[in-house]
Amino acid sequence: MSILDRLRGGRTAHDVDPLLVELQAALTPERVKMDSAQRSLLGKDASMFEGGVSGPICYPTSTDEVVAIAKIAERHGRAIVPRGAGTGLAGGAIPLGAPVVVAMTKMNAILEIDEENGIAWVEPGVINLDLTRHLTPRGFHYAPDPSSQQVCTIGGNVANNSGGPHCLAYGVTNPHIAALEVVTATGEVLLLGGLDAEPDGYDLRGVFVGSEGTLGITTKIAVRLTKNRPGVRTLLLSFATIRDAANTVSAVIAAGIVPAAMEVMDQKITRAVEHYVHAGYPIDAGAVLLAEVDGAEAGVDIDADRIRELGIANNATEVRLAADETERALLWKGRKTAFGAIAQIAPDYYLHDTVVPRSKLADVLDQIYEIADRHDVLVMNVLHAGDGNLHPLLIFDGREDGVMERIQAAGEEIITASLAAGGVLSGEHGIGVEKQPFMDQLFTSDDLDHQNRLRRAFDPTCRANPGKVLPMGHSCADIQQLRSVPTGVWG
């Protein structure tokens, strides 16, 4: 063997795997991958979870190909796991048990913009921000704007029912989806929902949104178009305490205002951000509230003024209204570079996601600080405060001994504290594999049993993204079993 061959690990041709052969025949050889590099890459997403093992990876370009993949996988008794951009934070796209991974990135066409019906048909691999950019010249946008919108796919958004800062007034993904073309694990093509006002039957489109790839793969999506708002006002309110900021948020909602966005950042993250991008955030403030109202130019000042008054009534130390687009962009820049700012502090972060009633925000935050202290981990908080969505960021260096255990323990306590305050497990990232073990803290065994029934109606053979969402004992396949890999897949 030459030096080169040895360096390259003495490659041998893949043992001929009939599954692979069939998949390659159905697609093209280049679009079905089975090499170790690909499989190790697609064994992960943006979450912390290791241990995913992928089987063959397919890059379909049409619904027919997705159908073919589903049928071939079925014949070989293998599961299918859809994947978008792999930015999920709950491990939804992590393959368990060497399934066929179906990467949707090549199905990325914007098929039709139908202004009269107020929708656009897109393929699932279209990137969220690309869609909005495409719509903007026509006076529309796609409303849900996850912080990852520059990269995440509409298919992934649908699967995770994703939200974003501007989902307070406009709602998360679900209400923005009119219809879906879906391929089930057995290869049936379903059209769910429709462009008519009240499609007949059970709301299967509504059920599919947020199902994390466990009901099938969506291959075509009709998203609703939202008209661009001519009037926007952005305010930055500073407070001495995070409690004052949280009280302001509640007061605004109680006053009948539903701003487009209400984001709160605590002192630590405000300082980190200001240090990083100099957005003009007050570093001595205990918390800042970024509020944005939009709508007709003629009405926005009324809401903006009211928010200012409510802020002052709740002890705001400073209220700044962005004078122009440049200043507005600067105020948002602070919020949007939160991840960059923390990277200056330590290389790793664990972004949590729970929801609590708005009125409990301040109490739960106090608990979170206490929990983090006790476990000796650094925590910073950015929150979609308008809808009570907490995003505690645990910041650490994964190479430090024992740190993962502390992060894990602190995370668990944060979840438990959120549930105890009357909250839920996830506001936008989903359950995936991350929060599975906590599902029975929220739901009874009967509740979970019924969720499983819903799932089975779509996927009786349990081959669509198995081992996700429902905890062991309730899901059709149990994770331990999925950890083992069918023979012959190591190639």
Binding site: L41, G86, N108, F339
Partner: protein, 387 residues
């Protein structure tokens, strides 16, 4: 295998994926192995987990354009460019990358005379339609060249290798514009034959280091060095990191992209009637993502043309990437198709690009491309070449 990557740099990536859409190879393939996140993951697998260097791993590394579009997109500040250069250096040293023919091909770059002869030969061959299309060299190469002469000692003007040979007229425009601002210019000619950028990209960093040392020894200290090729400028600004000496750092400090320099001296440039052109700006990656001074192009061009338009692809690479368009013609072509589509949507009369590689690559697709300096020069009324 130890790729000799800095553990902190490698560890800085949190696998968030925000860089994916800013990567030209991921954009055209949708394949994670062709993405920054994927490449970093594979570097980790190889360095930390001793993963074998399979064909696919090598392909992942080799298909990187090194445009560094992923760097500004990364919130964690991963120094991707350095990681990839180091990876390539280690692999080239181990004989796994950059075969001999490629190494030999880089040799003449460091020698102006060899290159001139070669280029002239190439130019003639091109006229005779002997150059294979695959080489992607489609701007007509000039056959005879007039020498560049010094007009003073205020600033150096870096003439370099490939660009000097192939686009000396661009240099002439640039020099005239700088002179119009009242500076005396010394062209570097044989004092600084080559910046070493292409060598560094190919993993031949040792060659780059020796070129850098030679240049630093030959150029008098203190004087600003203006560069009209974004790729060369980026490489020279990186000497500080490459050599790690205080002298190298000081040298890098006085390297300026010509537009960056002029943007700081706009008050000295004469007023002129704007050219009646709608100009689309194509930012070379090494200007936008590496030097991050692409705003200067706008500052300098704005007074001299009727209209500037931005492309709608957020500075995605055009696929030229130094020798990339020759080494990876398929991907480079697909990447260029995307760029051309974006250019078409912006409906310009002409495209301005401050890098010779990009100009030639785009011209290869029939897109009329000039250096911004040529436009300014023309507006200043002294141009001897029409775009």
């Amino acid at each position: 295998m130890d790729l000799h990557l800095d553990a902190d740099d490698l560890n800085a990536c949190v696998q968030c994926g925000l860089c994916l859409p800013h990567c030209p190879t991921f954009r055209v393939t949708g394949d994670e192995a062709m993405s920054p996140r994927g490449r970093i993951h594979l570097m980790r697998e190889v360095q930390d987990h001793d993963a074998p260097l399979t064909d696919e791993v090598m392909e992942s590394f080799e298909t990187c354009v090194q445009c560094r579009g992923c760097e500004p997109a990364c919130p964690s500040g991963v120094p991707y460019g350095h990681l990839m250069e180091q990876t390539r250096e280690t692999l080239a040293d181990a004989g796994a990358l950059t075969p001999l023919w490629q190494r030999l091909a880089f040799k003449p770059l460091a020698s102006p005379t060899l290159l001139q002869t070669g280029s002239s030969a190439l130019a003639i061959a091109q006229r005779l339609h002997l150059v294979p299309k695959r080489l992607g060299i489609s701007t007509e190469l000039p056959i005879r060249r007039r020498p560049l002469e010094a007009s003073g000692t205020d600033v150096y003007f870096f003439t370099g290798c490939v660009m000097d040979a192939w686009q000396r007229d661009v240099h002439r425009s640039g020099i005239r514009v700088v002179e119009a601002a009242g500076f005396g210019v010394t062209p570097t000619n044989e004092l600084a034959p080559c910046c070493g950028a292409l060598q560094a990209h190919a993993g031949l960093a040792e060659d780059t280091r020796s070129l850098a040392k030679k240049m630093m020894a030959n150029l008098e200290p203190g004087r600003p060095i203006l560069v009209d090729s974004a790729g060369c400028g980026a490489a020279m600004k990186d000497y500080g990191h490459l050599l790690g000496t205080p002298e190298a750092l000081a040298f890098s400090e006085r390297v300026f992209d010509i537009q960056e320099w002029l943007a700081g001296h706009m008050d000295r440039l004469p007023v002129a009637e704007p050219l009646d052109l709608r100009v689309a700006i194509q930012d070379p990656c090494h200007l936008r993502h590496v030097q991050r001074v692409h705003d200067a192009t706008r500052t300098v061009l704005r007074p001299y043309v009727r209209e500037l338009v931005e492309l709608d692809d957020e500075g995605l690479c055009c696929g030229a990437g130094g020798a990339y368009s020759v080494l990876q013609p398929d991907l480079a072509g697909q990447i260029r198709d995307r760029k051309v589509a974006s250019i078409e949507r912006s409906t310009p009369d002409i495209v301005a690009s401050a890098n010779p590689g990009c100009s030639m690559h785009l011209a290869g697709a029939g897109v009329p491309t000039v250096h911004p300096m040529e436009l300014v020069d023309r507006a200043l009324g002294r141009a001897d070449t029409a775009p």
